[in-house]
Assembly symmetry: C2
Homo-oligomer: 195 residues x 2
């Protein structure tokens, strides 16, 4: 059982990010992270299964934010409208105050191909969970998969832009989704007559 | 330098797939693959950098098929129309005769999370290359990324369906793209007035 130690995980996480960013992810050990905040390696492993986990913990909360947004969509909403609701809900998970932390985290991930693959895998898992939730609402298999994967695409692009810009993630995500809808309408006009 | 040995790579690949499928990927060594076709481990490593490579070699040919399709699109084509052309070109890379081989390969990948991550990463790399090619045609950054990632999504879904169905990959990919365009039009009507 993990003993309740307020703020310990957060302190470890902050110290880890600092060390990963300055010294490099590969070069930093769990023991060094713990030491930086006056704790033992054993305490570190009570909070995180490994040092990679420091960067990816909390994923289930983001997934839950997506699911809450899906639940909040009205019953008559079409698949991509439900996804729009999920994106709006997920955006609230990243308030602007979190941007500096997210930027540092991203700079660590961008320098390590294995972490990039892990991050990419996270988006894939997210898409699978969203597709399941859409199917549970009665959306058919193909539409659920397409809408969920498009949602993950929009979220990924919007998140990257949010790291560089100063606007809210909700605004950026809404704009990226709107651009996707525009592109689709443009192509639909040209492609349909030839089918 | 690799000495020219006609068919050796193909024989090794067939033997590897057979062993991966029957005995398990983890349980098969490069030496055993070579032995199965009367060759040495050294010969194996002249053709493949490791046993994983047996499953992923040829990726650059698929990427090239996408790029050829982009080149074939008329100058006035919109981003998703260019992607439609890329998908049609890529589909020709998987004629129906290849389905049994692709099914066996997929069954091996589906049983191994690390291979799944590698396969997912392949689609990500594909999307990046397609986005670069769209930008080189003058498509703006956001549209290029969205169209390329949507293309990778459509390809991934269509490929999975092609493994299970008997229709051609070109037909399935066209249908999946058409469904995406429909979903987008449906959502555009509902979302636009509220923006």
């Amino acid at each position: 059982m993990v003993r309740w130690e307020p703020g310990t995980a957060e302190r470890l996480q902050r110290a880890a990010l600092e060390l990963f960013a300055t010294r490099g992810y590969e070069q930093t050990t769990a023991a060094e992270i713990a030491q930086a905040v006056g704790l033992t390696e054993r305490t570190f492993f009570r909070h995180f299964s490994d040092k990679r986990e420091v960067l990816f913990q909390g994923q289930e909360l983001l997934v839950q934010a997506f699911l809450d947004g899906i639940d909040a969509a009205p019953p008559e909403a079409s698949p991509l409208e439900i996804v729009a609701s999920a994106l709006a809900s997920a955006a609230s998970f990243f308030p602007d105050e979190r941007r500096p932390h997210s930027r540092t985290r991203q700079s660590v991930i961008d320098r390590n191909p294995a972490l990039q693959e892990r991050e990419q895998h996270k988006l894939t898992t997210l898409a699978t969970t969203v597709a399941d939730a859409l199917r549970a609402r009665g959306v058919d298999e193909l539409a659920a998969t397409l809408a969920a994967e498009s949602g993950a695409t929009v979220f990924g692009i919007a998140f990257t832009r949010w790291l560089r810009e100063e606007r809210s993630l909700a605004d950026i995500a809404a704009d990226v989704l709107a651009e996707l809808l525009l592109l689709a309408e443009e192509a639909a006009q040209a492609l349909r007559p030839t089918r």
